[in-house]
Amino acid sequence: MASPIPKSPEQSEKNRKYDRQLRLWNDHGQALLEGAHICLINANALGTEILKSLVLPGIGAFTIIDGNKVTEEDIGSNFFLDADSVGKSRAHVSTQFLLELNPDVRGDYIDEGPEQILNNSPDFFNNFNVVIACAILEKSLIILAKKLWELDIPLIVCKTIGFVGYIRVQVKEHTIIEMHPDNEIPDLRLNKPFELLKTYFDSIDLNNFDIRDHSHTPYVIILYKYLQQWLINYQDIPRTKIEKEQFKQMIIDGVRKDENGIPVDEENFKEAIKAVNICISHTSVSNSLKEVLNDNSCINLNSKSSSFWIIAKAIKDFMENEGDGLLPLKGALPDMIADTEKFISLQQVYHKQANTDIEAVWKRTLQLLRQLGKPSDSISEKDVKLFCRHASELCIQRGSSLANEYDAKLINTNEIAQSLENPESLMVYYVVLRGVEKFQAEYNAYPGEFDDHVEPDIVKLKACISKLLGEWGCAPLAKDDYVHEFCRFGGAELHSVSAMIGGLVAQETVKFITHQYKPINNTFIYDAVTCSGSTFIF
């Protein structure tokens, strides 16, 4: 007898409000977001646009640090200020306007610049999940970056000048559990079936099927059966292109024929042939996963190890023991032509084994927690389940220190020199932006900020850039065009360019907080004139 059908669940207001994003990062991603506290340094147009895209999806809390008073220019580019705000604290006014966007979010501000805070309360930054710095001066940036590097808190530095945008992410170590790949490779274990699967496959005899059953057999079973035939004559699964073609021909020959000897239309066999290339391969562990499993943090756990590393180690132990070199089974079966009964029974075989594997990894996790003297409830079975489901996607990113990038002896000058040789490369913008920072430090203004200074500033900015390139051992810029362009911009913040970079920074922030999707590594430069963007690694 069928169990009673559940009534429709009551949808919470929150579920309904966040429905469109929950379909991206799910309830567990949302929970992380709602528990996160981020810090924004400087509420210029870029800063408030970033916060807007974090307040709307329901970040837990934000704190704005900004010692500036609102100017007329601010109002012209920043949506989270209004005509009455001039002269008031920019931190205060923008906090109020941003909080109107979402009553679920807490927000506060400090109307001091980062310089004062770094001086007076050095522990201020210790408890943020992500710190975002806009329009921060070079000197303070380096102090802040060093601090956050030690604390292992992600820092995102960003700015826009005219049509050019810049994002630099500094993160010591970031772990990713769910990558959300576009095309997921199914975990079918055809060349190394687990006991349960082998028994199931062996219980099926395609030759005994009538035409209806034959043409409603899932392609997974077809592939397995023909692989068994193949292995009678060959040592290994089909690997080369020629072997795969031969293997496909075997399957084609297996299609049933009508009374006239003409092959009938069997869709499931067509699917099987299409699936040969991705499904017939040795189940292997990707390099980025190997990197995780062989990482020192995974091998040598200690009392400070995060749940990520503890579960990663449990998976490693599983692979080295009951897993027989393989990851815990994903347990998901892609849709394929089949009748309901055959599909569901096959699905259940995979599902059952996946649960067995999760159980084993869970036991190993508890064992590790005991060894580390941690409470057994510090990791939930649900976490382990998620890990096992996405085990093949686990990834670790290790970034580089911004302080080193600002040290002429430590910066990756090869990347700069090589990129500058390519006239199309956006690296030139990086160089000019660094030059602008030097200019600001020296003259306390943006190059070209004042109408009557544009021409003289071109000469000065050029000098700043040449000095930098000299320190890096690079040749001077081939053309002055980019220097001219930045003096034309005069530090102008174009709203639509800031809104664009702001959206990107919010995306990266969500990635850091949820441990889903892969953040950039580590610098992104965008030119809104040509609509081109590039990623560089410093």
Binding site: Q21, I75, A492, S496, E508, V510, I520, F524
Partner: protein, 436 residues
């Protein structure tokens, strides 16, 4: 009046509009006239007051534009609030376009946003002709195609030469999750939406025999209830309204029953909603990225300060940040924007009318939805089939199973097709495939 344009709050814009630079368009002349034009004269239409539309109004108003219209037929729903930032909880149930326009006009002094609470199809050529640039943030491909067709129909050709002053640029944006795209269409000059129809993947459909006989996925169960069980039982005496929780509840319960019967796992309320309403995941940050690029393009087009995007850009930000730009090519046989006589190739003149309709819907470069067909038969215009008007549908239904030959059509006959995807009818000449 002049002081308004030299106000300090505009100094960011004035730097790029009143100074020349090495990467400006050659025809760009820096002066205070540009900003005056943006603020006083340049009229922009924003289509859609959703995630992209709200962002666009904000971006445009801070890029100097003052004369804007916004058109949207929708009202505000709770699920909009995670990204449509001009709306508050108290606005639920109100018109999107009216609420958005009021918000912008209140926040930005001097802004004159005029709302239109209606469908784009409710407006005629005279309405669309008044705009300098149209920016489109829709999730409906049909509506995109319709506005594209409208803008192409506004073009005037004299002796085969396009009068450039009739070209109204269309800047179009779309998002899905952490991905999005932007394109700039200069109707008549560059690839239009119909030229590249194959860029839009056809909607996922499940074969009827699968959902009826061999369901395997929870989606199959939901589809079954939606397309077979609902029309049969007609529980609320109306068609499905995805926004009515009673409807969704009914579908959820019935599909759950079916899933349990077949031993299918994984059916959730969220999935039911997603399948019934064809929900596309949407998030504030991606909308911000795509809308702002669209608005930068509008700014470039209106001021001619920089060259435009040529002409298509895609963002995929699931793995780092990845943007890719390319030039979508104009299709010389485009049904909408080419000047050639369009043809439809059929296997035989003895196919049935319903097969012809099927062909109009399935052909990659046509993808019509419910085409109505009239034809010029021996000098007389005859209605062959129209689905959208019930009385005509009834009268013409019998034609569906007649052959084209029996209906009086021959090779080179002209059929006139009307469809929701286009504001104008399309003339197609019947051609027989050569090898058959």
């Amino acid at each position: 009046m002049d002081s308004e344009y030299s106000h300090r709050k505009l100094s960011h814009l004035r730097k790029v509009l009143e100074r020349s630079g090495p990467f400006c368009r050659p025809d760009f002349e820096p002066s205070s006239e540009s900003l005056k034009f943006l603020m006083q004269t340049c009229k922009i239409l924003v289509i859609g007051a959703g995630g992209l539309g709200c962002e666009c109004l904000k971006n445009l108003s801070l890029m100097g534009f003052r004369q804007m219209h916004i058109i949207d037929m929708d009202i505000i729903d709770l699920s909009n609030l995670n990204r449509q930032f001009l709306f508050r909880h108290k606005d639920i149930g109100a018109s999107k376009s009216e609420t958005a326009a009021k918000f912008i006009n209140d926040r930005i002094p001097g802004c004159n946003v005029i709302p239109h609470f209606c469908k784009i199809q409710d407006k005629n050529e005279d309405f669309y002709r008044q705009f300098h640039i149209i920016i489109c943030g829709l999730d409906s491909i049909i509506a995109r195609r319709w506005i594209n067709g409208m803008l192409v129909s506004l073009l005037i050709y004299e002796n085969g030469i396009l009068d450039q002053s009739t070209v109204i640029p269309l800047v179009d944006g779309g998002t899905e999750g952490f991905k999005g795209n932007i394109r700039v269409v200069l109707p008549g000059l560059t690839a239009c939406i119909e030229c590249t129809l194959d860029l839009y993947p056809p909607q996922i459909t499940y074969p009827l025999c699968t959902i009826a006989n061999t369901p395997r996925l929870p989606e199959h169960c939901i589809e079954y209830v939606k397309v077979i069980q609902w029309p049969k039982e007609n529980p609320f005496d109306c068609s499905i309204d995805g926004d009515d929780p009673q409807h969704i509840n009914w579908i959820y319960e019935k599909s759950m029953e079916r899933a349990v019967n077949f031993g299918i796992q994984g059916l959730t309320y969220r999935l039911v909603q997603g399948v019934v309403k064809n929900i596309i995941p949407a998030v504030a940050s991606t909308n911000a990225v795509i809308a702002s690029i669209c608005c930068t393009e509008v700014f470039k087009l209106a001021s001619s300060c920089s060259p435009s995007l040529n002409n298509y850009m895609i963002f995929t930000n699931t793995d780092g940040i990845y943007g890719y730009t390319y030039e979508a090519e104009k299709n010389i046989n485009c049904l909408t924007c080419s000047q050639t006589i369009k043809e439809i190739e059929i296997k035989s003149i003895y196919i049935k009318l319903k097969d012809l309709i099927q062909l109009l819907c399935s052909k990659n470069d046509l993808q019509m939805k419910n085409p109505g067909i009239t034809a010029n038969i021996s000098g007389k215009i005859k209605t062959l089939y129209i689905q959208s008007v019930p009385s005509i549908e009834e009268k013409t239904r019998q034609n569906l199973s007649k052959t084209l030959f029996d209906l009086g059509l021959r090779e080179n006959s002209e059929i006139i097709v009307a469809d929701v995807t286009t504001p104008n009818t399309i003339m197609l000449k019947i051609k027989l495939l050569k090898n058959s």
